[in-house]
Symmetry: C2
Subunit: 483 residues, 2 copies
């Protein structure tokens, strides 16, 4: 059996050529969408559509078979019915293909015995010849750097290249990570959806990403494993090297039942998984939002000390209730919101006065709006310079800002927040709820993200994500990666 070492997986994300087998000339078919996506994405290697029916798709001739292709084929994407899968594996071996990923479903996940048998035969044939398999029942590879789009998306949408890698047993969850990544500037180095994972599995990619120089944090959505010991060792390697966030789908009884029909995984119980994650040093997420929020913090702020939190509210509105509930959210998540130093508090009192103010921490800066933008700026800047604070969470409501202040002053505030972050080096986390002014909010969110400031939609989610990092298992070195 050939080595499943790290280097061999480079071809998954940087193949010289990709053949899409089952690439119909009919634009609505998955194979056709896959080809169009790669072309639109601007994938730099050679793209070979393959179908016995021939024809053209996305400006390319469709080859009648793999062997009819003149050049070498590194990577095959298979979008063919399951009954052709074994024959295709044999063709790949003949052609000298390195990796084949099967979008094709209809194997062990159906629970039928012939699905399992087919998988075994494919695996034996592939292994004997050194061909690696991804899937079946998966969406496979995603790589912004080499412009490999994710799945049969005709628009070939690809996010910016970044330093977070993902592993997903679910193609759909992989797709959500890609989409969320684009929307929130969580920029991925690479991503892989594994489906049934009969050959290459999550453990292989944990090890690969642990060593990948372009990856500084790792996220994984897992439903189960066929080899718990292998997975644990790989997870330990990954989490020791880089912050690693794992979301276990099928944590609960009902979820586990659904997982059995999905990827054919025998899901272990939630406590077993939580224990394994803790022991390996991985951070456990309970759902998509917790995972993406945590990744955003890791990518924008790095794995630094963020235990002592200041909470600022009232940028335009009355910030009292928001400050109170901000405290509650931090307390719910066992985060420390320490009293600011007397120097900070005295300066705040000078700036915004005592009337209706909350200055201990949280800080309600709402009285500042009556004193002008420079006072608001100075008040927030003062909080960022408190020596007892590691990170400042700012609650900003764009709807209320626009109502009370109007667009020019709202822009001014968001502009100086970026300045404060750059100038003081204090990590900021913005809480900006979705609302009635989404276009305006989105423009500001994208600017803040570009300035390296993570943006969360609710205080509860900001507090939860900060707590996931602050309370992460200590097995992994605290500051090994990112920043």
């Amino acid at each position: 059996m050939p080595d499943s070492g790290k280097c061999s997986l480079d071809v998954v994300f940087n193949p010289r050529s990709i053949a899409v087998v089952g690439a119909s000339a009919e634009e609505k078919k998955s194979g056709a969408k896959w080809v169009s996506g790669l072309v639109k994405a601007g994938y730099k290697g050679s793209i070979y559509p393959v179908s016995t029916n021939g024809g053209r798709i996305a400006g390319l001739d469709i080859a009648s078979s793999l062997s009819a292709i003149q050049g070498e084929v590194d990577y095959v994407i298979a979008s063919v019915p399951a009954r052709f899968a074994l024959g295709l594996v044999e063709e790949c071996v003949e052609k000298g293909v390195k990796v084949i990923q099967f979008f094709t479903a209809g194997f062990s996940e159906t629970g039928l015995s012939d699905g399992k048998q087919l998988e075994r035969q494919m695996l034996e044939t592939a292994r004997a010849a050194g061909l690696r398999i991804i899937g079946p029942n998966c969406v496979g590879s995603y790589c912004p750097e080499t412009r490999i789009s994710y799945g049969p998306v005709p628009d070939g949408k690809v996010g910016k290249a970044g330093d977070v890698a993902f592993i997903s047993q679910s193609g759909g969850v992989g797709g959500k990570l890609v989409e969320d990544g684009i929307a929130r500037q969580i920029n991925f180095s690479k991503g892989i959806s594994l489906g049934n994972g009969i050959d290459l599995d999550a453990a292989d990619f944990f090890e690969y990403f642990a060593a990948d120089p372009k990856t500084n944090a790792i996220a994984a959505y897992l439903e189960g494993t066929r080899n718990g010991h292998k997975l644990f060792r790989a997870l330990l390697t990954a989490a020791t090297a880089k912050p690693t966030v794992v979301w276990k789908g099928g944590r609960t009884e009902a979820g586990a039942a659904a997982a059995r029909s999905h990827t054919g995984s025998l899901a272990s119980s939630a406590p077993v998984w939580s224990g394994m994650l803790r022991q390996s040093g991985a951070i456990e997420a309970r759902n998509l939002e917790e995972m993406t929020d945590c990744l955003l913090l890791l990518q924008k702020l790095g794995l630094r000390r963020m235990s002592n939190i200041a909470v600022v509210g009232g940028l335009a509105d009355g910030g009292g209730g928001i400050s109170v509930s901000g405290s509650d959210a931090c307390n719910d998540n066992r985060l420390c919101v320490p009293t600011l130093t007397s120097t900070t508090r005295n300066r705040l009192q000078e700036l915004i006065g005592e009337v209706g103010s909350i200055l201990i921490n949280p800080v309600d800066v709402s009285p500042a709006q009556f004193r002008g933008m420079d006072v608001l700026y100075e008040a927030i800047r003062t909080v960022t310079q408190d020596p007892g604070i590691d990170v400042v969470v700012i609650q900003e409501d764009m709807d209320i800002m626009l109502s009370f202040l109007g667009q020019p002053e709202t822009d001014q505030v968001n502009h100086f927040l970026q300045g404060i972050s750059a100038e003081t080096g204090m990590p900021l986390v913005m809480v900006m709820p979705h609302g009635a002014n989404e276009p305006e909010r989105n423009v500001v969110e994208q600017h803040l993200l570009e300035a390296g400031i993570p943006v969360m939609p609710t205080m509860a989610r900001a507090a939860r994500a900060l707590a996931m990092l602050a309370q992460r298992p200590t097995r992994a070195p605290a500051t090994s990666a990112l920043q």
Copy 2:
């Protein structure tokens, strides 16, 4: 002391005239913004700006004092420094004003003894003459029906009139409810922000809204109370009459400390509050999102039986991981996701086949996309007709829909979802995450809301809100109101 009965509070939401005292001719000042807001909102009664400096604002002459106004003044909004508050109360008594609300801060919430004393004097003067006070340190009244905008918002933004009333001790939280209401079509009958609540307090408004024929559900953000027994009795009245959702700010130690500086409330401990809410039959929310999500369900679906939930995913993407995590979210919230009947499952199997499918519940309809829109429609419709199901939660990701299907087919899906809801009478809850296609997403969200289908941003929030209703305290009659 005059009766604080229900009828007398009508004037808070339907005054014949409003005087804004402290209405500067300078547009940037709060008093001026308040006048502009009422004018822009289209408030139908008379608006009288008042300031000793005179001048004009928003096309209206500014009267030099209350007594200089020719007509009767029902309602006064005070935006003056605290030192003028007592004098203004005396003027109101002279003029025969019915209610005065003080935006003015600087009273008991400062913790200073003269603030408290001033409040006592204002209250004595007012009570002796039958004048009622709202606040101080509050934003006061909001009423979409009579076009009273909320606070000094120059754009005079007002949401649609609906059947949910809110009470908030925090002006800022009231503002967030107003904004969220506009963004998500949570349509309010009336709203009140009380601040320090030295005269009219939360209990008065619970009783008023319990009897208000235009209100079918009540929401409250409370930080504390000066009279626990009165509050409990009023809460009991409210929750017995109508579904009542209470969010207690300052639940935690840190939050309670912030609350003391905010509204001067002596916050009791979280268990005491939770116990009181449970005994009164009120539903407890832990943050703004829980409260607004719950209100949206109440308003769009009513307080009906929603214990047995079907979860549908995979409208365009692979719905496996989404189904698994949907199960987890329901299980986390102790919601029942029952196995669908064999009739339903057989029909689904006919429609979408066995390959890669999850048909027990959750249902992954993703294979349907390869068979056409009519199959997808029929599959979802089949789930809504299962006799063991009370509500169907549909997970739809617009980013993925647009990527895989394009705009026309995405529109088609959202159109037929509205049709299914109308045709079958089965309550639907949509889960539509925010993402990279916000304008398109927002158009669909607004259409769905108009069709009476609540839209949630995450599965976790949908499950939590459904659980809040399904597991509400049983003291209140189960189906007394709404629907």
